[in-house]
């Protein structure tokens, strides 16, 4: 036998090929993002739950026989009789097409490639594609962050932070308790240390002002789209800011502030006067969230049906004033039909780089809408 012994460790490719496979899964998921992010079951999950996503593009196609046509030979326990039913077959409906879910693994030849992902992983893929334009350096941001202050005393700590006065007092008290009021006979338990606490400063904050048209024309689809968009927008902003406050405003002919629950579920009949909500938004900004301290992201969901052209003009006036104070203002027109509203036409004439307008007519539009609203490159 020859002594030639290849060094197998140099031949190994498993880890790098496995890595390449994982990259391809990620790429396939990325291609499916428009579909994934507007899936209602995903946005209502808790972020930990594993979602199974079938990935057809990574299946290794080859010429093969129909997986469950024709007889097979197998082993059983010796008790089977002709005619015994051994199980159910996956039906053609769930074996082909998009929504495949079969009884994989029960019979030979049936397997589907499914990637298991969590909401957070989908979010990470999505957020790779998004950017945060017009991030303002606020004046208060000159305060170093995180800041900390010595505020507390602890029996354990760093010797450099020893609080001599308190330690002396502890020592004296303990000695006095046994009848000898003097300083000495030190024990570790006498020592007291200054300790600090982190003090987050609120300078790195953002506020989302979510506005929604609740007039009669906003149906279930529109509510869901508004909700999906807001969900990802908030989640995205929370990855960039220490804390994100949200103000919910709704309007028909009049605007008012509501709770989150109401925001997504309210539906009222009546006309629409869009200027009312922009006016309220402006007031909220001026009174509660001064632009000098806050990064402001107003977003408005509407089907664009406004009461009158005069009100469109009024809205544009307020809009222009608002634009000077916000980071990005989004107008998302959600509609099932194809025509462009008068409000959208009016907004398009504004041509301000911080005004982003998108039209959502299908659930796949949420993804490009998010990319328009949060582009990787400014301008």
């Amino acid at each position: 036998m020859a002594d030639y012994r290849p060094d197998w460790s140099l031949q190994r490719k498993g880890a790098s090929d496995q890595q390449r496979h994982l990259e391809k899964i990620k790429q396939a998921l990325r291609e499916r993002l428009p579909d994934l992010i507007s899936d209602e079951s995903i946005i209502t999950s808790d972020g930990q739950r594993v979602i199974k996503v079938p990935i057809r593009s990574l299946e290794q196609y080859k010429f093969r026989f129909h997986p469950w046509q024709g007889d097979r030979v197998g082993q059983d326990r010796g008790t089977g009789r002709p005619g015994d039913v051994l199980g159910q077959l996956p039906t053609p409906a769930n074996s082909k097409g998009e929504g495949e879910k079969g009884q994989a693994g029960e019979w030979p030849g049936l397997d589907y490639l499914e990637a298991e992902v969590t909401l957070d992983e989908i979010a990470a893929l999505l957020f790779d594609e998004l950017g945060l334009p017009y991030l303002k350096a606020k004046p208060l941001a000159t305060i170093p962050w995180p800041t900390w202050k010595f505020k507390d005393i602890s029996p354990k700590g760093l010797m450099g932070n020893l609080d001599k006065r308190r330690s002396l007092r502890e020592n004296l008290t303990r000695n006095a308790l046994v009848g000898h009021p003097y300083v000495g006979n030190w024990r570790d338990s006498d020592l007291r240390f200054k300790t600090w606490v982190d003090e987050p400063e609120p300078e790195n904050n953002a506020v989302v002002i979510a506005m929604r048209d609740i007039s009669g024309s906003m149906g279930e689809f529109k509510k869901l789209m508004a909700r999906t968009f807001s969900f990802w927008m908030l989640k995205f902003l929370r990855t960039h800011y220490e804390s994100v406050e949200v103000v919910f405003l709704v309007h028909h002919t009049q605007a008012r502030e509501v709770s989150e629950e109401e925001f997504f579920h309210l539906g009222e009949s009546g006309g629409t006067k869009v200027s009312s909500v922009y006016q309220l938004c402006l007031e909220v900004v001026q009174t509660r969230y001064p632009a000098s301290r806050w990064n402001i992201y107003p977003i408005h969901f509407s089907d664009g049906d406004n009461w009158s052209d005069a009100d469109n003009h009024r809205t544009v006036e307020i809009l222009v004033e608002l634009l000077s104070q916000v980071n990005v203002l989004g107008y998302a027109e959600i509609r099932e039909g194809g025509y462009t509203s008068t409000l959208m036409s009016a907004f398009r004439h504004v041509r301000h780089p911080r005004l982003k307008t998108v039209t959502i007519t299908h659930k796949d539009d949420v993804y490009p809408a998010l990319k328009t609203f949060f582009p990787r490159q400014e301008g």
Binding site: S16, Y61, F63, F65, H66, V73, G80, L86, G87
Partner: protein, 440 residues
């Protein structure tokens, strides 16, 4: 076990020789689980890189990590042969595995299906891997990967050489220069030559070989890659068509060799447990170890051990099952036929003839559909017309449709595949942009 020294590699090898086996010399090596699983995923150590191997490796390793299955060994058909043992094996397990390996290596040496396999395939695949790496360097990794995606999808579409002891009738003398000189000998590609060829008079059974020679669309490195993948498949092909025989032979001999050793009672019990583990039935599947072992034992009872040596030399799984499956084996293993009946899977039969017929059908051509090249100049437009040789089972049409995309990628012109579906003749086509389907 204290007191008993297990036989060494060499001693087991000599025991095997005394019992009539004739294995190649074997280099044994202990490797940790990730290495063993990697070899098992790639089938040959040092093979070219591709994500699909990484996927297989990942799946195997997960199963191992969760304790769902355990590989004890991996043998490479080479001379000298390589056998990798899991370094976590006990001394008894390793003795058992070594005995098992003797059967495999004897089988590689003597079964006629393996007479074409090169003795130095490990070196060959290393050179392949190196060449693929160079192509990645010169044309880009994504380019090579996308191309390999297509070639590997068709890797099973080869026509393995028929063993030399059964010389087959040569096809008729070629009617065109195509057979005499491959296109790369002709200097500049001659477009008109392809136009003249009427491939329909000669049926080409080796799709990969045909694409490699005849596609006008490929660059040199691409032809080389197809050739490499095809060579590796031809090397592995005999293992696919002798799975039952090979595992059965190895199991038969691990029993015979272990019985030669004077094992303690405890060791004997452990050995029996290992043996029953590898031959354990899997519900509604065929365990090749169990079936092969049972057939050899049954044959030995009827004709003696000498007869087994001839069988291991001349048969493959199809002829092995056809010739030697008996009522006794069917009863011992509880073999049965089952199949679909409307939307249910039902028990069909326990008759020997039924079982034999269905099993042979499953094993034919390694369970892979046979696709012929019928015409390389279909419609006089350089389109490729393939025919699936229907032998009772329909193709998975969804898969066929997607696989046709890969054929088109290699052929560069529209491609067609004729098959039968529910008894009706059907042609699937792909022109590079759209799929179409038409009834004939």
């Amino acid at each position: 076990m204290s007191g008993y020294a297990y036989p060494t590699d060499q001693e087991i090898w000599h025991m095997a020789q005394e019992l009539g086996l004739d294995p190649y010399p074997i280099t044994f090596e202990s490797v940790p689980a990730p290495v063993l699983y990697e070899f098992a995923a790639y089938l040959i150590p040092g093979r070219m890189a591709h994500w699909s191997y990484g996927k297989a490796y990942h799946a195997m390793k997960i199963r191992y990590d969760y304790g769902l299955n355990k590989l004890y060994e991996m043998v490479i058909n080479a001379n000298p042969a390589y056998a990798f043992l899991l370094d976590a094996n006990s001394a008894l397990e390793n003795t058992f595995v070594r005995a098992h390996v003797m059967g495999h290596v004897d089988f590689f040496h003597h079964n006629q299906c393996f007479s074409h396999t090169p003795a130095d395939m490990v070196d060959v695949v290393s050179r392949h891997a190196e060449r693929v790496r160079q192509y990645e360097f010169s044309v880009g990794r994504d380019e090579v990967e996308t191309f390999l995606d297509a070639v590997l999808a068709l890797e099973e579409q080869v026509n393995p050489p028929t063993p030399p002891i059964l010389p087959r009738e040569r096809p008729h003398a070629p009617s065109s220069p195509r057979m005499v000189k491959p296109p790369w000998d002709l200097g500049e590609p001659d477009q008109s030559r392809i136009r003249q060829v009427q491939v329909s008079t000669h049926i080409e059974e080796d799709l990969l070989w045909f694409l490699m020679r005849e596609s006008l669309h490929l660059e040199d490195w691409q032809r080389d890659v197809i050739g490499m993948v095809r060579d590796e498949m031809l090397y592995l092909w005999p293992q696919l068509r002798t799975k039952i025989m090979n595992e059965g032979w190895a199991s038969y001999w691990h029993v015979a060799l272990m019985r030669q050793m004077s094992l303690s009672d405890a060791d004997y019990l452990d050995f029996a447990r290992l043996h029953s583990h590898v031959t354990a039935p899997v519900l509604y599947h065929i365990n090749p170890y169990a079936l092969g072992y049972a057939i050899y034992c049954d044959l030995e009872r009827r004709q003696g051990r000498e007869a087994l040596f001839l069988v291991r030399t001349v048969d493959d799984d199809v002829s092995f099952v056809r010739n030697y499956l008996t009522e006794d084996v069917v009863a011992e293993l509880n073999l049965m036929v089952y199949g679909p009946d409307q939307d249910r899977m039902v028990f069909k039969s326990r008759q020997l003839e039924e079982i034999r017929e269905k099993l042979v059908k499953e094993l034919l051509h390694g369970g892979i559909p046979v696709i012929h090249v019928n015409d390389g100049d279909f419609n006089q437009r350089g389109e490729l017309y393939l025919i699936h040789r229907h032998e009772g089972l329909d193709l998975d049409l969804l898969y066929a449709e997607r696989t046709l995309h890969y054929v088109q990628r290699l052929w560069g012109r529209p491609v067609h595949l004729e098959t039968l579906s529910n008894g009706k003749r059907l042609v699937l086509s792909f022109d590079g942009k759209t799929d179409s389907k038409s009834m004939l």
